[in-house]
């Protein structure tokens, strides 16, 4: 496989191609001739748009999957790098590259996207072309964030994601979509702009001899370490806020339930599956390596860890009492991402690798949960848990998959969820044993809220007449869920290939942050 990829020069074009395919695709989708909903069999406006979009996303996935083989785990540097000038007068370059961390995030993205198209298949009936075009553009933005090696480019991509999602929530969302979309936009924009100030500050700090700022990640990596502690602290704070909102870390999470609940199914899937990972990815890629001194400052580290811990338990407890299943899943994200934050800031190889696994797993499991909620909603137009009950009897396949996915979300061993949480916890225990023990109680709460919810949905008496004739999953729905189920099993049983690919980058990160983070603390070395 690797030699075949070499022979087609895969590494030379793959990354720009990944960014370009969706953009070109968006144009294609927009140019499709409109067909009125009434004129189509499915009652969907311009049904060709969804087909084209699906195949484009499949193409995108096929193109990206080559990275799995072409990626060399032993090489901790950038792979498949691209470096083109963009705005030379500002010292901005269009530089891309993957490392082990980005690799998995990219594959997660390209994996989730076609499924989210399937998830929107029949629910999106109006403005279909625009919808899929926005999904495609969003993909470019998300991949751009993962691939960017230039802080300017990163920031641009970071913001680019916001607009399509704003429209997806606002136009195709639920009842309170307008409130939710605006909240989502402004909530994330404020800290992002503060991060922008920090990025400019950093770039100027690194300016070359001719005064041109330099936003190259690699240069900043070495250059940012030597900056005064106070400055680094402020810059870290700006980055922290931007990422913390995206993650979201308690108490910056309140946009999330609204956005998730109001978004159409695909929107929730992408939000939870991919966009939340932007925050934690940001910590791994930028906040920690650029400001190790600030991030590893014992007080700050402890504050963040405690926030993560609060997130784990608070998210679970609040999820437990939600009457709305989608909101429950949304709050469960707060809990899961708390594990990621714990893993990242505990900063051992195991915990960081675990955090990465949780990121992937959460994308898959929570993505699947949102798809399942979408399926429920499509049939009954209700997300309230109390509207259901006993439907396992009429929809056994749905029940089987929902149960299975919930179990993976709970972290049942043998599913992906366990691998991630186990690694996070076992790694974090090395540095923060007490906190880890408290965090471990999170696995109990996860079982409580999810099992209670699925009991009230799937089990108990089938006592609502509306539910007696619910139809089970159809072929399209199976087609979008089965890959997720397969991924859940695969990552749960044999995650080693994934872990191996990420290990180099994770190790590099840990070493870098530990080394650099220990520099300002020389005085404390005696203890």
């Amino acid at each position: 496989m690797a030699s075949f990829l070499d022979s087609i020069g895969y590494n030379l074009w793959v990354l720009p191609a990944l960014l370009a395919i969706p953009l070109v695709g968006a144009v294609i989708v927009l140019m499709l001739p409109v067909r009125e909903p009434a004129a189509t069999a499915a009652g969907v406006e311009t049904p060709a748009a969804r087909q084209v979009a699906l195949w484009l996303f499949v193409l995108e996935f096929v193109v990206s999957i080559g990275l799995w083989w072409s990626f060399n785990p032993a090489d901790t540097g950038w792979q498949a790098p691209i470096d083109i000038g963009w705005i030379p007068t500002w010292g901005v370059r269009f530089t891309l590259g993957v490392d082990g961390i980005a690799l998995m995030m990219v594959l997660l993205t390209t994996f989730i996207m076609p499924l989210s198209v399937l998830g929107s298949w029949t629910t999106i009936r109006t403005k279909v072309r625009s919808y899929y075009a926005l999904l495609l553009i969003l993909t470019t933005g998300m991949l751009g964030v993962f691939l960017a090696r230039d802080l300017f480019l990163f920031y641009v991509m970071w913001e680019v994601m916001l607009v399509p999602m704003y429209f997806i929530i606002g136009v195709w969302g639920g009842e309170r979509r307008i409130y939710a979309s605006l909240k989502f936009f402004i909530y994330t924009m404020l800290p992002s702009l503060l991060m922008l100030v920090a990025i400019i500050y950093l770039g100027l700090h690194m300016k070359g001899a001719d005064g041109t700022p330099d936003f190259s990640y690699d240069r900043l990596l070495t250059g940012a370490v030597g900056m005064p502690e106070r400055t680094a602290l402020w810059l870290f704070a700006a980055f922290f806020l931007a990422f913390a909102v995206k993650v979201p870390i308690f108490p910056f999470h309140t946009w999330l339930p609204d956005a998730h609940v109001e978004a159409p199914t695909a929107g929730s899937v992408i939000l939870a599956g991919i966009m939340l990972k932007m925050g934690t990815f940001g910590f791994l890629r930028f906040a920690l390596p650029l400001f190790p001194g600030a991030a590893m400052n014992p007080t700050i580290r402890m504050i963040i860890l405690i926030l993560a811990l609060i997130g784990i338990i608070y998210g679970a407890l609040v999820a437990m009492v939600q009457p709305d299943f989608k909101k429950l899943v949304a709050y469960s994200s707060v809990s899961h991402l708390g594990f990621v934050m714990l893993g990242i800031f505990a900063l051992t190889l195991q915990s960081v690798q675990g955090a990465l696994m949780v990121m992937i797993n959460h994308g898959i499991s929570t993505g699947a949960l949102f798809l399942l909620v979408g399926i429920m909603y499509e049939r009954r137009h209700s997300r309230l848990i109390d509207s259901y009950g006993g439907i396992a009897r009429v929809a056994p396949m749905f029940a089987a998959i929902l149960t299975f996915v919930s179990l993976s979300s709970i972290g049942l061993p043998g599913t992906n969820g366990f691998v991630g949480e186990f690694l996070v916890l076992i790694g974090s225990f090395r540095t923060y044993p007490v906190l880890t023990i408290i965090a471990t109680t999170g696995v109990i709460f996860a079982a409580v809220y999810l099992l209670w919810a699925i009991q009230r949905i799937l089990f108990n008496p089938l006592d609502k007449a509306e539910n007696e004739h619910l139809t089970d999953l159809n072929k399209r729905e199976l087609a979008m869920l089965v890959p997720l189920v397969a991924a859940i099993i695969w990552l749960g049983v044999y995650p080693a290939p994934v872990l191996r690919r990420m290990e180099g980058s994770a190790q590099l990160l840990v070493n870098r942050v530990e080394r650099a983070g220990s520099l300002p603390r020389v005085s404390e070395a005696g203890r």
Binding site: P251, Q353, M397, A400, I426, F429, Q455
Partner: protein
Amino acid sequence: MLLQTAVSAASQAHPLSGTIAEWVWLLPILPLAGFVINGLLSLAGAHFGPTDPTAAEHEHHSEGAADASAISHAGHGADGDDQHAVKRHRWAGVVSVVGPGVLILSFLLALGIWQAMASAQPAAPFIQRYFSWMPVGDLHIDAAFQLDQLSMLMILVITGVGALIHVFSVGYMRDDPGYPRYFSYLNLFVFFMLVLVLGANYPVLFVGWEGVGLCSYLLIGFWFNDKANADAGKKAFIVNRIGDFGLLVAMFMLFANIGVLDFIGVSAKALDLGAGSALVTTICLFMFLGCTGKSAQIPLYIWLPDAMAGPTPVSALIHAATMVTAGVYLIARSSFLFSLSPVASLTVAVVGAVTAIFAATIGLKQWDIKKVLAYSTISQLGYMFVGVGVGAYVSGMFHLVTHAFFKALLFLGSGSVIHAMHAAYHRTHSNEDAQDMRNMGGLRRYLPVTCVLMWIATLAISGIPPLSGFMSKDEILGSVFARAQGSTLASATWLGIPGSTLLYIIYAIGLAAAFLTAVYMTRMMLYTFHGPARTGTEEEEALHEAPWIMTGPLVVLGILTVFGGWLNLPEVITGIIPLGPRELLAHWLDPVVGDATTRIAAGAAQVPASTEQALIGAAVVIAVAGIVFAMTRLKPDRLPRKRDAVPEHGFEGVVAHKYYVDEGIERTIVEPTYAVSRSFLWRVIDNGLIDGFFVNGSAALARGLGWVGSRLQTGNVGIYAWVLVVGVLVMLGAFTLR
């Protein structure tokens, strides 16, 4: 890396390599395949055509009988409805072959492997490494199986008893619409149970550990359309999760301190933790928390009685014979750790003893036949923990095995009773409780085989020689007494109490519990099979013995119950009566737990044979006394039927309500947690403070300020000019007055 090569090198030189033991991986794969096939059949059957198209119309579900309905399904298993003319599942034939078939194959394979092992007599475990599961830096977790004498014993119990129960289920679940689903869960359970006992490291064990919990959850809630059943399943899972939390933390501590998690590695490095150190004690206690969850010990026993909501064969397999004994297995497996910590070991023994007597008292006042057996199981598990707690790992395991026999027999027997009762009530459309002993009575006339076999099991569990229960229970009590005489435990102190004193107390508790066991078991038998029939005359006609496919396994289990004791005949008995070779099991398990047992028993004086004989005599006397006590004091013929019964008062009422433990937990933990989460965390903190005050508050503030600003814009030029002049003055002031 080093470790991996070492392991693979070891496995190559292992005496079992090249034998049938190489096929050990097939043991769990067979049931897994069964699970996949049955599961797909279950979904396929459901998807491509309802089993009973009229099901929805046929409901005449009685809301008032919510309690009874849990039971009313058990017999004919109508998936939540009291429906008639249930056709068998369209794939039932295939499932009946695949479901028990894979188990029988597994059992045969297990026998083959046992044969190989018995002849090879390996001193070291046989390890098969399949792939690297979670390799992260210095953390190496392999997907690997470890075959040694301990896991072999468990495999035989699991596949053997498991196969019998599968066969029994074919009859018991015959008409259930969820037939394939039932067998898929049951197969999956066996898969996970085998993973549990075969895992070569703690994480793989944990896979099985939580996996069996999952299956238990699924099977307890098998008739999920009843809220009580679904609740019970959920409760079991969550309570088990609390225990799993402990096991997880134990693993974290092991890895953080010695950097390995596989059994060989840990046992090699266990001494690095420091014998008797606080660290090793903490690890053991966390691990024991896991065991209390899985094996239903105080404080996490509360799920097991509720778990009786599942089909009765499930109770036999999972909640009596195999899964609940996993905690005992874990401690035996981790004997290299527990033997280092006398405090932890004593804790295990104390918790076991207290659980044994506590559950036995509750068992005295239960009316539901399965609940009696459930508390009996908890109580017997307590005995096993006493055994492994005092470092008598072999005795603990021995009791595990014999208990698997007689308790499975009891449960299946009760299944046979319920089956008959239910068929009877079904015929008369009665909503009476088919599991309540007050509705039974005199059943020996209709179920003679079941009655006899259950009496055998009752005598066994009560400790009547020479039945298996007598042998194993007596060994445990004997070991406690021996350890009290002198051992590392006896010389340790536990919460300020000298170890030997404590052990004598435990011994006394054990005897008392044995007495109670005899009482409540005899009570159960009397009320069920003897005295007048309280079923009702119409129903009596329908009462009949179960088909051979159900009685067959009962007979096999009966034989095992009688002769199970031969596995490990104590010297004190063989010394008197030459029944057969002595202490087979002890020799068998010696490579695994021998060192640990020796470590704990260090300094123990040989108990004189006369003392031992006296002890045995005392135990037998107590058992007989219990039976006699029950026989004389209980009056089956005066017992009112359930619907005529008056609730118990005073202490009896407290016991009948299981000391109100469930209610207490509900009030003090569950409800406050929900209340705080809902009204404080969600409403106040999330919606009120963070979202309301900070987020929307700041938005409202901005809008409010904007509104004020736009009000100032009155449209009157005069005002604009004034503002401008004020601006001028400020500006002038700023520039000139500095």
